[in-house]
């Protein structure tokens, strides 16, 4: 039987990395995610799997170490929290532009500025709409439990290498700090250098083997046609991901007349909201996007005919709500409820808002 542990979300990000055969982690301390690197340093994976763990001098260095490692065809990752992610956004744009696979974890805290170390979902726009410069997207996974924190590291690497692009795990201080039971997976072996050279030899800097020309990883393309073609290729990839990789969960949506949409920690709260609404005979359902990019546009559109209204519940001033509104194209009412500063709304509070907005 699989081993079960009781651990924090941040701690199992570290275990997830080791167990899925990650080659390197490069990070910089910031609250509320420092347990990721601390756990890795305690686990000493360089003595077991050979994974490299390094504390960099800044988030800028971390993300560029990830860039270097990703160029090598290795499974590399970093983790940080909001202000740190802002510093990484230039690197993120380079990673996307150079079509490099990697996993980044953002354990979001409240902003803007130094803000607060309390949980927040205020980085939705940064994660989903870009953050860095230029026309790019990254796949964004939103775990709502410690188990998903653990599982999504491996899932993230699978997607990152399948599409050769960065994948972000967008979570928050609540999921990162929350202790839960997590079922561990068997240790996956890391790929050998020879396997990497064979698999990714068409693009990775593994050292120029005699059978091929030198590989160059760059995001630079000064020739207008080459640059336009690169961008069209990226966009085609994003469209394919929108078709194939949308992930979500629904609760009581079959006959729902009112739909709550929430991800991550807020989805946990909204699960209880829906349960108590149902106990009162109210036809409320929950849609939990698991991928924020690609967003479950089609599922919202599928549910739309039966709905009288949608409420987006977020720990922000209203960010995901914009994607919901784009999905429904003004055809049904979409409203928003959010709390800030680390204030987590109670399930009853959300239900009250839902009733006052729609049910009355």
């Amino acid at each position: 039987m699989a081993e079960k542990v009781l651990k924090k979300g941040n701690e199992v990000i570290a275990l997830g990395a080791i167990h899925c055969g990650c080659d390197g982690y490069f990070g910089y301390p910031i609250t509320p995610q420092s347990e990721v690197m601390e756990t890795l340093m305690e686990e000493k994976p360089w003595e077991t799997t050979g994974m490299v763990v390094l504390q960099a001098e800044s988030e800028i260095a971390s993300v560029n170490m990830v860039y270097g490692g990703a160029c090598c065809g290795k499974k590399v990752m970093t983790s940080s929290s909001s202000p740190g992610l802002s510093l990484m956004c230039e690197g993120l744009s380079y990673l996307a532009g150079s079509e490099l696979p990697c996993v980044l974890v953002n354990v979001v805290r409240g902003g803007p500025g130094l803000g607060t170390i309390q949980p927040s979902q205020g980085d939705y726009f940064q994660a989903v709409k870009g953050g860095g410069h230029g026309d790019y997207k990254i796949i964004v996974l939103a775990p709502f439990s410690a188990q998903e924190m653990y599982d999504f590291v491996g899932t993230g690497f699978d997607l990152a290498f399948q599409y050769r692009m960065p994948v972000m795990i967008l979570t928050d201080g609540m999921i990162g700090q929350m202790m839960e039971k997590v079922e561990l997976r068997p240790q996956q072996p890391r790929l050998s250098d020879n396997e990497i050279a064979k698999r990714y030899g068409s693009w990775a800097t593994t050292g120029k083997t005699p059978d091929r020309k030198g590989n160059t990883v760059t995001s630079l393309a000064l020739d207008p046609k080459v640059h336009e073609t690169l961008n069209h290729r990226l966009q085609a990839k994003y469209r394919e991901i929108e078709e194939k990789e949308v992930r979500f969960e629904t609760l009581y949506c079959k006959d729902a007349e009112y739909l709550l949409v929430a991800y991550g920690s807020m989805a946990r709260i909204c699960e209880s909201t829906v349960e108590s609404a149902r106990a009162q005979g109210l036809k409320v359902g929950l849609l939990r996007p698991i991928t924020l990019f690609p967003f479950p546009v089609k599922e919202i559109q599928r549910l739309m005919p039966q709905l009288k209204g949608i409420l987006s519940v977020e720990l922000s001033t209203g960010q995901m709500v914009e994607d919901i509104r784009l999905s429904v194209e003004g055809k049904i009412p979409v409203d928003f409820y959010g709390r800030l500063g680390g204030v987590i709304p109670t399930p009853e509070e959300v239900l009250e808002v839902c009733m006052s907005h729609y049910i009355k």
């Binding site: 080659d23 390197g24 490069f26 490299v52 390094l54 960099a56 001098e57 800044s58 800028i60 260095a61 971390s62 560029n64 170490m65 990830v66 860039y67 270097g68 490692g69 160029c71 090598c72 290795k74 590399v76 230039e90 690197g91 380079y94 150079s98 250098d193 800097t205 593994t206 050292g207 120029k208 083997t209 005699p210 020309k213 030198g214 590989n215 160059t216 990883v217 760059t218 995001s219 630079l220």
Partner: protein, 253 residues
């Protein structure tokens, strides 16, 4: 006598290294980059490490260094080459990793990355081209621009009270425990180029022996940025740059 009578193996006195590509370099006449590229390529061939060498190109004129050598290349964000090199060397400890950076890249925007990579003693080679100016962007002040030197952002000459002082970053790097070899060279004539090649060779050898970071500064000319002919630029460099940036080894352990 026919050309084919002359072109014979026994008459060969010079052959371009096979590590260099056939691409025509985009560098200006008199620029030091081409010479330094050639020296690195020759060292790679002589050490027979073409398949084991990964170069990191900077932002600046040398961003296209990857067009000129048959090796694997990573192109870094401005100043971040030492971070890429750190990860690459740690993930491939048996490979030779070098960064190729200009003064704006290494001594201004990338100060943190170079200091910390050197301080950690990453087993990498750093080639630092110091021509005291931003070449690619059109001749702006660099951290290493000399006092009084005219650039497009110091049109009346660099003044200490406004622009601060030229940064002797190589002297700072030499203070760091992680570095094993720190030297300052130049390539304005054949003798100087030979010395620089020896320094680059030593730096790569150090990397093999995992001795720590090797740092080779090459005081270079930028005739376009300095608004001088190539010959004048070399003379100006000898008269003005060398007194402030004296050549020689700063550290060799």
């Amino acid at each position: 006598m026919d050309l084919k009578d002359i072109i014979k193996p026994e008459n060969l006195v010079y052959k371009r290294t096979k590590v260099l590509t056939d691409n025509v370099m985009h560098y200006c006449p008199g620029c030091s980059h081409g010479t330094v590229h050639k020296l690195i390529a020759e060292v790679i061939e002589e050490m027979d490490i073409q398949d084991k060498t990964i170069g990191i190109s900077p932002v600046g004129c040398a961003v296209f260094a990857y067009n000129y050598m048959h090796i694997d290349w990573q192109q870094a964000a401005h100043g971040r080459a030492p971070a890429l090199a750190t990860a690459t060397k740690r993930l491939y400890p048996d490979k030779y990793i070098f960064t190729y950076q200009g003064d704006g890249d290494l001594a201004s925007i990338g100060t943190a990355e170079i200091m910390h990579a050197c301080n950690r003693g990453e087993n990498i080679v750093v080639i630092f081209i110091n021509n005291a100016i931003y070449g690619m962007t059109g001749g702006q002040m660099a951290p290493t621009t000399l006092l009084g030197m005219v650039t497009s952002t110091t049109p009346y000459g660099r003044q200490a009270d406004i622009n601060g002082y030229p940064l002797k970053i190589t002297e700072l790097i030499a203070q760091l425990e992680g570095t094993c070899y720190v030297t300052r060279q130049s390539v304005q004539n054949a003798a100087a180029a030979r010395k620089t090649k020896k320094a680059i060779r030593k730096a790569f050898e150090n990397s093999k022996q995992m001795k720590g970071t090797s740092f080779v500064e090459v005081v270079s000319s930028c005739s376009s940025g300095w608004k001088l002919t190539p010959t004048q630029a070399n003379e100006w460099m000898e008269e003005n740059m060398f007194p402030f940036y004296p050549l020689g080894d700063l550290k060799d352990i």
